[in-house]
Amino acid sequence: MLVLFCVVAAQMSAQITAVHGSVVDEYGPIMGAAVCEIDGTGRIIESTTTDINGNFSMKISNPKDKIRFSYVGCKTVIMLINKEEYEIALKSENVINEVVVKAQRRLNSGGLAIPEREISYSTQTISTKEFEGLGMNTIDEALQGRIAGLDIVSVSGNLGAGTTMRLRGASTVSSLTSSNPLIVVNGNTWNVDMSNFNVNSANDEQFAQLLNINPEDISSITVLKDAAATAIYGSQGANGVIELTTKRGSLGKPRVSYSLRLTGTYQPEGYKMLSGDDYTMLLKESYFNPEQSHASADIRELNYDPTFSEYEQYNNNTDWRSAVTQVGLRQNHFLSVTGGGEKATFRISGGFDNETGSVIQQALNRFSTRVALDYYVSDRIKIATNFSLTYTKNKRNYDDLLSIANRKMPNMSIYEQDKNGNDTGTYYEMLQSASSVFNDNQKSLVNPVASAYLAKNDQRTYDISPEFQVDYKLLGLDDNHWRLDYQGRVYMNIFNDYVDKFYPQALTTVAWNNAVNTSYAGSSKSVAFNTKHTLTLIPHFNNKDHSLMMMGRVELTSGSSNGSGTEGRNLPSGGITIPDAGGLVSGLSTSYSQWHSMYYTFSTHYAYKGRYMADFSLRADGTTKFGPGKRWGYFPALSFRWNIIDEPFMEPARKWLSMLSLRPSWGRVGNQPGTDYLYASKYASANKYINMSSMLPSNIRLTDLRWETVSTYDVGMDLGFFNDKLRLTLEWYRSTTEDMLMPNIRIPSNTGYLTLATGNVGSMRNNGWEFNIDTNRLLEKGKFYADFNASFGNNRNEILSMDKNVLKSLNTDFTYGNAEVLQRVQIGNPFGAIYGFRYKGVYEYGYNTFKKMTADEREAFLNAGHTAPVAMAADHTVIYDDEGNPVRMMYAYSNTGAAKNYEFKGGDAIYEDINNDGNINALDIVYLGSSLPKLTGGFGFTLNYDGWKLNTQFTYRVGNKILNMARLDAESMSTNNNQSQAVNYRWRKEGDVTNIPRAMYGSTTNYNTLISDRFVEDGSFLRLNYLQLSYALKSQLVKHLGLGGLRFYISANNLFILTKYTGVDPEVGYGSYGASIDSGQTPRARSYTLGITLDF
């Protein structure tokens, strides 16, 4: 049988071995027309081109194949190989009858490519065209205010610092599971797991990884909001998903594009701080007041006594803040080459960024490159690769310079000064022999300028992500056949991180044996491997009313990370800064972890007449984080869409209404803890005893730890007017988190352990709505057109239930201390409530002044609105004791351990005595407001006129309260820290009418900085996020220059902010159960950018 077949095949091939002929069109012979032998799958077997006369000849490999003739601008002809000579007349494509192509924008979000009009879940897409050329460092900056319900808060203004993102509020109280949304790049989850090795403060790093994608490489961003949309990401998508798609090559001759951005950044000014003169005066007062003694205020560093050996070092007016800030400069170069032919397309890009910070001695260098190749093996098979590499070198400050600069005593000099008061070349550090009053909070403050120049804190990261993908169309090639498409993908992510630190002796004045010249070198490596296999089935129905798509996917991920660190101290010199340079190696640490996960996804989309849509998806997640029996989490989602506009009865409205749809959906996603091996009893090695090595159990195993699940109901509505010139989206949602995971659950310690690593503790709910408007050439007149966008969002959360022990441990007892923030988490109440006293100003007079007055004088005194620390009844009359003396106002008067029994004096803060008992205590604490904004969002508009384009974006937040701890610290006058100029208005003598209490050194000498509404401020703001003006040269002009395109732009980021908030930046994080607290982190820098983009 087989032999027979072979013979037949051989006979057939023997018939035609070569073909020849000519190709012409209506104007004559064509040179360069392609003639190809193609096989059944469209793969090219042999090929040639026609000569100047349009003639060709070509060998034939297999006469069963077909022969194809093609030429640019002509219709391709495919024929069977049944003769040796071909005379072909190609027809121009232009003569083809007009075909109406109904282009449907399809959205492929991790699963099925669904036409935009049929999407039934909540999503929002932005093309990066909209903010091309903005001085954005990262995509998250650009997203701010553009996505309804997405709230982005920058962690700090430090170089390389990231942001925290909250999509529709926090779904969990846990810090164990990050509340940041999942980032998906080209379908690959961005899961460099650094949880086991914390090189330094993880917060700064977490989302800084987004830096590793050059914004110029991104073509579109899709935000998946509701559970129906994110369910195909299962446990990974519990906090929402942000999908990024990078640009790929496109057909055509190679196009080269170069862009350059130059950005200047600077720090917004914070509180005005005291000068050296004001500071010394304040400090002398604050030392004098508690003791009423000049002796305690006799401090050499404050006395301006020329006989003091360090006199010159302490007689200055140093502005530490301006000493550590500067205008930062950023340059971003970006080059991309894209192009391709019929068989392959490519895009290669490279970017180089160099940045100096707005705080001195910060520098960031970043090199990123990305190569995308698509090779079409045949009509059926496509191979694609993507390779990206980012190298970042971040030279950071060792200390938080701005924070130190704000606290450092301003009468001290930066450089050591000689006896004539001239600066020498040495930085000055406070000596250990300085007055002991500075022990607690000046000696420990390093000279920030010295720290910037002498200490080292470098970080280098490499991020490499190769990807390989095969697409195979197993059945039909187009919509007229059953289609079964396979996609296989292998993805790797390699992330290496190196940290080198050195802290020289010059910055410390402690003795040699107390760890000087300290050094640290650490590295961590993490490798993630992911493979994904997807089968998509699209049946073809003869009845065009039905359409169905189905997708099944299996995905495996494995990864490992390991890290090591070495600490050294007492290095012999500051010259060599590695830990093993001859000092003591004081700390060695290593870590290793690995994880595996496995996902099955099924997703289906059904549409009837393009009018009624239903989607169902189910994802099964298997993880190593849970024990046997709990490993698999199942996450279903169901969503519907009804395009009302397509109903026949809507016919009359279609002139102006282009879209009206309703989208109800339900879905469930989950969350897993960030730590591995929680379900196992583990034994770790411990300290030796005598000569016996030892092992100890290290945990209580969590056998019944469960997935945290989030179920979301969402109702969405889409509206489009005037052929989608104006589009509105309205969403309402309610999501319920159950089995909420929380780390470090306190348990009775008679079990031997204080805490369980994590536990399922309760449930909470997020309610909210979102509203989004955007337009497409809404106003158009001649060359002018304008667009605008706006989004509003609101989210409320509440605790539905919680383990009562956990609740107790979340709620702290008030111990009557200054600056002590009370935290209350109550079932049924939203998060972030702020509690405290009501502040009523400052007592103008002391108690004795009032006591000595006659009855008439007292009445006159009170009628004139003067204040003294005497207890008042509810009817504003003074309370008298048995002896007829006025009762003195007391703070925390009781016989309990927490008692302060403090007598208020003139110049002390007045707190409202809510219950009029003459005693300010816990019973006088009231609700002062909520940290949760009533409304968040943004709006912006673009104006276009003939190549000119003005693009603006505002973000805002309305109705939230912030506890301004930064101001509390700057006005407390109870430490040696420098204070804001506001304290110049402090109470100094009897009768002073002011809002600022007297200066009192010490944390228990006074109670002037209790949490009160004095420090609770309205955090509403409106920020001009960016403003950009760009101009694209006219193409004729550009062609003269031999270019493909030329654009210039200038933009300003964070130009201004309208707010009543007195702190530097009201954009303070919120959403956790505690109050939103401004602790004075580095605010976001302001910047101006100048850019140019050249296309060749």
Binding site: F5, G40, Y472, L474, G488, H533, L556, S558, S591, Y592, S593, Q594, W595, S597, M598, T623, T624, D676, Y677, A680, S681, K682, Y683, A684, S685, A686, K688, Y689, I690, N691, M692, S693, S694, M695, L696, P697, S698, I700, R701, T703, D704, R746, I747, P748, S749, N750, T751, G752, Y753, L754, L756, G759, N805, S809, D813, S894, N895, T896, G897, A898
Partner: protein, 577 residues
């Protein structure tokens, strides 16, 4: 045609084959194990696993958290100790000295003690399974392990009940979060009874002598002597004085035997009796013409012949240091430490007739304390060496250098011979029946008084640096009450700064049924709020510690000690004052 079709399917099938292994290996794929730790399933297989965890029990018992609790619970509230250098920086500690202890005081946390207990319970659960798997691990070794970890566990419980009175008690380990730790406290007596019962049952299996090539095991690990010492102590608390005395004798006899064996081995063949002090193998304090030998040997060198059980801190940079001694008692950088001797003790020798000590020549005064400027600090444990010269009218003490900060390797002694001797004396005194006025009764009383006196006098004599070593005048202590007080005073002098004094006072109060003696002693050290202190300590419950607030919060079955209010605050409200 068919070939083509086959080829087509071949492609499809081969793709599926690539995917298939990925699908099939799903169960194993999700099993990963930590690499820097061992999971339970791979542990408890051989003898060394058991040995390692037993060693772990010791090393967690010698952690600073445990040792500082032995100090704070056992002595800081007593008359011996007041706040030292910068005590205001440690509010929890400062509040102890003001008797202003509330449920949020950090010293009320007991988790580290329970960690040792739980680890011991874990060993007791798994050691038998190891015995089945590992033939090298014999039945007698298993029993020795049982005795060793039971003793360690019982020691921790003993510390807890003496501190908190009633505590949660269990002999099952907590391994799994399905087990609830929220249990009611077991009453003092019930816990004490089961501790005694437990120790009685394991004592016969305990190691008598460890191999001589491990010189630190004999005092650094549990031996039969240690269990006997613990039983003696426990019976004393149980007020079963016959048994207490019996176990004290077992320990003393064992020490004597040990001494005799040692002498027999050494070439010195002098009269044994001469080297013993009144028949007890006590290390002599005299060394040539000066004193301090006993101090330097027992507390400086450690691992002395007089020691019964001490936590060993090896003289090795890479091993755990005794951070508690360094922080609380002081070091070369900070001396006195954050605590120091009470004024009336350190000033005792300035009086014409010392009140705490029986004579100006009591070398312990000079050894245990060292002056630094105008104040005295605790030198016991903090210094490796003391020398007392008694030439001239007033003795003088000098100390060798103190341990550097963060490098104190002084062992922490839990039981030593004089402790046991004085416990025996206490038991003997309590055996006296003063109401028995028969002749035999009186004779019996006299015998017991004399026996007790002899012990006290022996201990006192060892540290007498005068040339004419005068005995304590028996006639001053010829009643039961007087003798009982003498024993307690000698315990105070001998075991000062060893974490014993408060427990002595508590035991005394339990016996008396009131706190009068305790209050009178504690009042000696003076306090800024003496009247509050006095009224607070009048309540019997107040001599124990409150449960930590967080424990009350998470364990609804735990009822706060009524002397400390509801547990939320130290308020008087809700207490029956």
């Amino acid at each position: 045609m068919m070939i083509m079709k086959l080829k087509k399917y071949f492609y499809k099938i081969s793709w599926l084959m690539i995917a298939a292994p990925l699908l099939s290996s799903c169960s194993g794929f999700l099993e990963v194990e930590p690499l820097n730790e061992i999971v339970l399933e791979k542990f408890w297989n051989e003898e060394s696993d058991v040995e390692n965890v037993v060693a772990g029990c010791y090393s967690s018992l010698q952690s600073q958290a445990c040792v500082e609790r032995m100090m704070a619970w056992g002595e800081f509230r007593s008359d011996n100790i007041v706040g030292g250098t910068n005590v205001a920086n440690n509010q929890d500690l400062a509040n102890i000295f003001k008797e202003n202890i509330n449920a949020s005081n950090g010293f009320t946390s007991w988790d580290q003690m329970y960690y040792v207990i739980n680890t011991c319970n874990t060993v007791l659960l798994y050691a038998p399974t190891v015995a089945q798997k590992d033939p090298n691990y014999t039945e007698s070794e298993l029993n020795a392990t049982r005795a060793e970890v039971s003793a360690l566990r019982d020691l921790c419980y003993f510390y807890l009940i003496r501190t908190f009175r009633d505590v949660p008690y269990t002999n099952t380990p907590y391994l799994d979060n399905t087990q609830s730790g929220a249990v009611a406290a077991t009453p003092f007596d019930a816990v004490l009874d089961s501790l005694i019962q437990d120790l009685e049952s394991v004592q016969q299996y305990a190691v008598k002598t460890y191999p001589t090539n491990e010189p630190y095991y004999q005092r650094g690990r549990i031996t039969q002597d240690v269990i006997h010492a613990m039983l003696c102590d426990m019976y004393l608390w149980k007020q079963d004085y016959q048994s207490a005395a019996r176990y004290a004798d077992l320990v003393i006899d064992a020490k004597l035997l040990e001494y005799k064996n040692k002498i027999a081995k050494s070439s010195v063949s002098s009269n044994l009796q001469d080297q013993l002090l009144n028949g007890y193998p006590l290390i002599t304090d005299q060394s040539g013409s000066s004193y301090g030998n006993a101090f330097s040997t027992i507390f400086g060198d450690g691992n002395s012949s007089e020691s019964i059980f001490e936590l060993m801190y090896m003289n090795d940079d890479n091993m755990l240091a005794n951070g508690a001694v360094s922080y609380y008692y002081g070091n070369a950088t900070t001396f006195p430490g954050i605590v120091k001797p009470a004024e009336f003790i350190s000033a005792d020798m300035t009086l014409d007739v010392p009140q705490v000590y029986t004579s100006k020549y009591d070398t312990r005064y000079y050894e245990n304390m060292e002056s630094s400027g105008s104040e005295y600090g605790i030198a016991k444990y903090a210094s490796r060496f003391a020398q007392v010269t008694t030439s001239g009218t007033t003795p003088k003490g000098t100390h060798g250098s103190f341990y550097p900060s963060a490098y104190c390797h002084a062992n922490w002694i839990i039981y030593r011979l004089t402790d046991i001797m004085l416990m025996k004396a206490e038991a003997l005194v309590e055996m006296i029946d003063e109401n028995d006025s028969t002749a035999t009764g009186i004779a019996q009383r006299d015998t017991l008084l004399h026996q007790a006196y002899n012990i006290v006098n022996t201990v006192n004599l060892r540290s007498n640096g005068s040339t004419n070593k005068t005995d304590i005048d028996y006639n001053l202590y010829s009643s039961k009450t007087q003798m009982a007080n003498l024993v307690l005073q000698e315990r105070q002098r001998e075991l000062m700064f060893e974490g014993k004094r408060w427990y002595d006072l508590v035991r005394r109060s339990r016996r008396d049924g009131n706190t009068n003696y305790l209050v009178s002693r504690v009042m000696q050290k003076g306090s800024e709020n003496a009247s509050v202190l006095q009224s607070k300590l009048t309540r019997m419950e107040a001599i124990y510690w409150p449960y930590n607030k967080e424990e009350i919060q998470v364990n609804p079955y735990l009822v706060q000690n009524p002397a400390f209010g509801s547990g939320d605050t130290n308020s008087y409200e809700g207490t029956n004052k």
